[in-house]
Amino acid sequence: MISLLAEKIKRFKEEKALDSETASCLLLVHALLVSGESFERVLESVPGAAGERLKRAALRIRKGEKAHESLAQEKNNSPSEYFSRACDELARTYYTGTSENLAALAKNISRERQNKVKEYNSKMIMYSLFFVVSAAVLPAMFESFLIIGSSFMDISISPEQAFLITVVGFPALSAFSVLLAIIKRPG
């Protein structure tokens, strides 16, 4: 269970890293290809998380695997949608010999990321409000209800249950609200 969760967190982090790096990596690849370097050498010289994956692909190409198969393998293992698209375009570049398509894709990705950031910014207030409500307003209301309500109503919550709800339930709810904001954050 914990290893599964750790794996998911790792993939989530990698997805965000790949999302933010792919556009600039494509432009670097385009620049290096224009400068006349070989395809494999260019793939090997890309830094970052995207570079790691491209290095693996380059290594397989050097060993004799077909470029589109090697890049497809990285594409299938990639958690990032942008990186998958980049792999397709890289395979196309390998066979056509022109890298203009990489620059066009990089621009498209930048535009899409821009839209995502704008969308996230507009949702930010909602996430903040959700956190404050779940971490402050709900516990305060719960305690007020218990203290005042228990004076004249038959409340079936015991002090032990109230203690557990406050110490476990509310932090879990707050953690969920913060996690939601982090998961939705664009890469």
């Binding site: 385009h30 996230y120 516990p139 218990l146 005042i148 004076s151 002090p159 109230a162 406050t166 932090p171």
Partner: protein
């Protein structure tokens, strides 16, 4: 180094909570944190400034490289203000001292590992001439767009961080403390019906007070984990400041009554 400072800060936090007045703990913690982590903060700021300057300088470089030789372009580019230009000025000085261009650029990469892409582009430009300057211009334009995007994203992350900090350090303990003390002090003996007896009510109040005293540090640690993100050593830094601060605010607000 960071871990040592973090542990030191944590020890200061614990000892100030135990040995000194609990109300003084947050002030001691905050001033210690500022004193200990200011150099790291300055280093991080420098890196951010460099990342911000790099696309502008690269754009300038790509334009100049279409009609100037590489070394001359580099000299012109480093005349601009900013951290990245200062790093390029170091490269120029190394070249003037007789080092090869490739070696000088490699040293820049070693000093600033994040600048690998820029160094690769500069090297490509040096090796292939103005053939790649148009592509460098494209890359610089894209990097400018990216840095604008990063700025927007960082602004929203900053809002998120400050919301979490202010909420967990001041707002939540303050609200809980005031609500608890106000509600506990209300005279509602006239409403006695089928509710709990005095004894049971006292137990409930005690349980809630203890739960609050535990909930507030738990929340502070939780918030610290989220604020620290990938930099795990910062969890202790944030916790060392937030836990004493939130507990002190809670204790102070327990003495306040709204009604």
């Amino acid at each position: 180094m960071m871990w040592k400072k973090t542990v030191l800060l944590f020890c200061i936090g614990v000892s100030s909570l135990i040995l000194l007045d609990p109300y003084a703990a947050p002030f001691i913690m905050t001033s210690s944190a500022v004193f200990l982590f200011f150099p790291e903060y300055k280093k991080a700021q420098k890196k951010t400034r460099m990342k911000k300057d790099a696309p502008v300088v690269m754009y300038h470089f790509s334009v100049l490289s279409t009609f100037l030789p590489f070394e001359k372009t580099l000299k012109e580019a480093c005349k601009r203000k900013g951290e990245f230009s200062r790093e390029l000025a170091k490269v120029v000085r190394r070249i003037e001292r007789g080092e090869s261009v490739s070696r000088a650029l490699e040293k820049m990469k070693e000093d600033n590992p994040w600048s690998e892409k820029e160094v690769r582009l500069l090297k490509a430009c040096y090796e292939k001439g103005d053939r790649v300057s148009e592509v460098i211009k494209d890359a610089a334009e894209n990097a400018l767009e990216d840095s604008r995007l990063e700025g927007e994203k960082n602004a929203s992350i900053l809002v998120e961080k400050y919301t979490l900090l202010i909420a967990s350090g001041l707002l939540i303990p303050g609200l809980l403390g005031m609500t608890f003390s106000t509600v506990s002090s209300l005279d509602i003996t006239g409403l006695q019906g089928m509710g709990m007896g005095q004894q049971e009510k006292m137990i409930m109040k005690q349980a809630l007070l203890e739960a609050n005293q535990l909930y507030i540090p738990i929340l502070a640690v939780l918030v610290s984990i989220f604020l620290a993100g990938a930099e795990k050593e910062r969890i202790l830094v944030y916790s060392s400041v937030l836990v004493p601060l939130s507990l002190s605010v809670f204790r102070i607000s327990l003495t306040a009554r709204l009604l």
